[in-house]
């Protein structure tokens, strides 16, 4: 079976970018990462249906391509679509609750890293005003820029 190098390359890039984004803390980026991985898998399935150009119908006189992977992709697209809609609702809800969309660090994990017992989460820390939030964002962006340079 011959596979188009272009599709293979695109698939590899999408997988790599998707995994990278999935490891981010921001749920918005996680969603984008999930979408990229979903599309990479769809490309993987597409590359199974044979050389390009063939109609997915047998008996047309030309070498036909396999229609089954295309049916699988359609199902996978529908599922990805539904799940990403749900994830976006989740991210919106999370933002409404905390005014930020980051996954909070797991207290237990942090505690294990420090080697002590975790404290119960302090509920008061979530109640910061809009202005604090903006400042924190700017600080974070600055820090990120510094890190890249």
């Amino acid at each position: 079976m011959s596979v188009s190098v272009a599709i293979l390359g695109a698939m590899a890039v999408l997988y790599a970018a998707g995994v990278y984004l999935l490891l981010e803390k921001s749920v918005t980026r996680i969603i984008i990462g999930f979408l990229l991985i979903g599309n990479a898998t769809n490309l993987l399935l597409l590359s199974l249906s044979g050389p390009p150009g063939g109609p997915p119908i047998a008996g047309s006189g030309r070498p036909s391509s396999d229609p089954l992977p295309q049916a699988l992709i359609l199902t996978a697209i529908v599922i990805t679509f539904a799940v990403s809609a749900f994830l976006m609702a989740l991210v919106y809800r999370s933002w409404r609750l905390a005014q930020e969309d980051e996954v909070t660090p797991d207290e237990a994990d942090v505690a294990v890293g420090r080697g002590d017992q975790p404290e119960p989460e302090d509920a008061a820390s979530d109640e910061e005003s809009e202005f604090d939030r903006v400042e924190k964002d700017e600080l974070r962006t600055d820090a990120n820029d510094g890190g890249v340079q």
Partner: protein, 516 residues
């Protein structure tokens, strides 16, 4: 009788649609959900009797001849798990109806979406159990996962969103991996029909076989919560409402285990990866139970014992013998029932005492003896005390392990025995503290509780809420079902043994589906 097979999926999904139409009429929704699950339970029993003699019910959906269309297959193991799941889903439904009625406003479970989603979850579980091709198995998984995403974040409170995000991202990753594995398998053998894959896979080069096998096992391992892919589970399950946690703990991981059983017996029957599975089983058992010992919260403690008992199921599969597979099937049935019961009882404790942290609950034996009985019986059952079914299942697994007589199998048998004893410790500690000791003594603290790990996301204590009769009856029904498994262990174990034998000789499945 093959006409009954698709009904198992159709009835709950149509019920879900009808229940969604009846939004705002909770009584209608409850009736629809109860009728749909009862119907599936009855069909499950009929199918179980039908396939008891070894016949396989094969239903080509849409009339397409077998290897081309989607095929639904019911054999002994499918029918057994189907029936038990339907019974458990029905009992938990009764529990949640009781809870909803008792709270009046259905705080824990908004009615308009809860019952339809619950039925969709049931559809996914049933579909996964009877799927005869790999892609349909994927769709079954997706149906149940999407429903579980909704159920785990139901209400949209902050802890649930946080726990739900972890759960959803992990599940999505495993689904993507599963889909990629299906793609790779299709590329290698040119079919997604499980029987045909089984026929053709032996002709592949060894390296390709192992690669495909590992891809599938990793995807299913995440779903079944096998160490080291299990860390999402104790973090996400305990925050959901009690009935949701109960049904997740009982069923969702077992669907993953069922998929692993099929992978190991039908798709890749070779023994290459069996030692790896045994090592993973041992690690899952020991890591899970050590986690359970450290927890102060009953729900978290039970989630960790759930992980550790997945190890027992994987051990039976990893032995790769008919006896091992049979013991796994019996143990899966036992564990579905008992784990669900314990989570339901924890739900009762939470309503009675306002919290499930054992350092804050005391004197339950005096204040509510019914809950005490409903806790003690399944707890001893899970711990494997004779004569309960937990003991019989573990005995079967240990016998199968000893029969193999390799150093690795002896080691795993040793770990399984130690884990069984260690499981008793956290369960009995709950009994000692929360049930036996008076409240003041528990509050004063003791050496038992000094080192305990509090749930970092512990919800605020609530006031004591009334226990609705249906909740207690549903839990009592589940305890009775657990005891019935003990009483009927003889015939049930024979049934499992036959199922295990059929699974181990894979040509039976292939010939049954492909009609050769």
């Amino acid at each position: 009788m093959t006409a009954l097979v698709p009904l198992v999926v159709m009835i709950p999904i149509l019920g879900a649609g009808l229940a969604l139409l009846a939004t705002g009429r909770p009584r209608t929704q409850r009736t629809i959900a109860a009728i749909a699950l009862t119907a599936v339970l009855v069909i499950g029993v009929v199918l179980m009797v039908e396939v008891a003699d070894g016949t396989m019910l094969v239903m080509p959906v849409g009339g397409w001849p077998v290897p081309f269309g989607i095929v639904l297959v019911v054999d002994r193991v499918s029918a057994l798990l189907l029936t038990v799941s339907a019974a458990v889903l029905l009992a938990v439904l009764v529990f949640s109806i009781g809870q909803g009625i008792a709270d009046g406003d259905d705080r824990e479970a908004p009615v308009s979406i809860f019952y339809p989603t619950y039925l969709v979850l049931a559809t996914g579980v049933f579909d996964a159990f009877i799927a005869g091709d790999l892609f349909n198995l994927y769709v079954g998984f997706e149906i149940l996962l999407v429903a579980s995403y909704v159920l785990i974040t139901v209400g949209g409170t902050e802890p649930r969103i946080r726990a739900g995000t972890t759960y959803i991202v992990v599940s999505l990753l495993s689904s993507a991996l599963f889909l990629a594995a299906i793609g790779a398998i299709y590329a290698a053998v040119g079919t997604v029909n499980m029987a045909q894959i089984a026929e053709r896979v032996a002709a592949l080069p060894d390296g390709v076989q192992v690669l495909l096998h590992v891809m599938l096992l990793t995807a299913f391992g995440i779903k079944a919560a096998v160490f080291p892919l299990s860390f999402w589970l104790p973090d996400s399950y305990p925050t959901a409402p009690a009935p949701v946690t109960a049904v997740f703990a009982g069923l969702l991981t077992k669907v993953g285990v069922y998929a692993i059983i099929r992978t190991e017996t039908t798709l890749f029957p070779g023994p290459e990866l069996n030692p790896v599975l045994l090592v993973i089983a041992g690690l899952t058992m020991i890591v899970g139970v050590l986690g359970a010992i450290a927890q102060a919260d009953i729900k978290r403690m039970l989630s960790f014992t759930l992980v550790s008992h997945i190890g027992y199921l994987i051990m039976g599969v990893g032995l790769g013998t008919a006896a091992g597979t049979a013991a796994t099937i019996f143990y899966a049935v036992h564990h579905i029932v008992v784990q669900t019961t314990l989570f339901l009882t924890t739900g009762l404790i939470e309503r009675r005492a306002g919290t499930t942290t054992i350092t804050r609950v005391g004197g339950l034996l005096a204040s509510s003896p019914v809950i005490a009985v409903l806790y003690l019986v399944p707890a001893l059952n899970l711990g494997g005390i004779p004569p309960f079914s937990g003991f019989l299942g573990k005995l079967g697994l240990l016998q199968a392990g000893v029969a193999q007589a390799t150093p690795l199998s002896y080691t795993v048998v040793g770990i399984a025995t130690a884990t069984s004893l260690l499981t008793l410790y956290p369960l009995v500690r709950v009994w000692n503290l929360s049930f036996w000791r008076p409240e003041e003594q528990v509050a004063a603290g003791s050496r038992l509780t000094d080192q305990l790990h509090e749930d970092p996301y512990r919800p605020a204590e609530t006031e004591t809420r009334s226990l609705a009769k249906p909740m207690v009856w549903a839990t009592a029904g589940m305890v009775a079902l657990g005891l019935a498994l003990t009483v009927l262990a003889g015939p049930l174990y024979d049934y499992s043994a036959q199922a295990g034998e059929t699974l181990q000789s894979w040509s039976v499945y292939v010939q049954g589906v492909l009609d050769r």
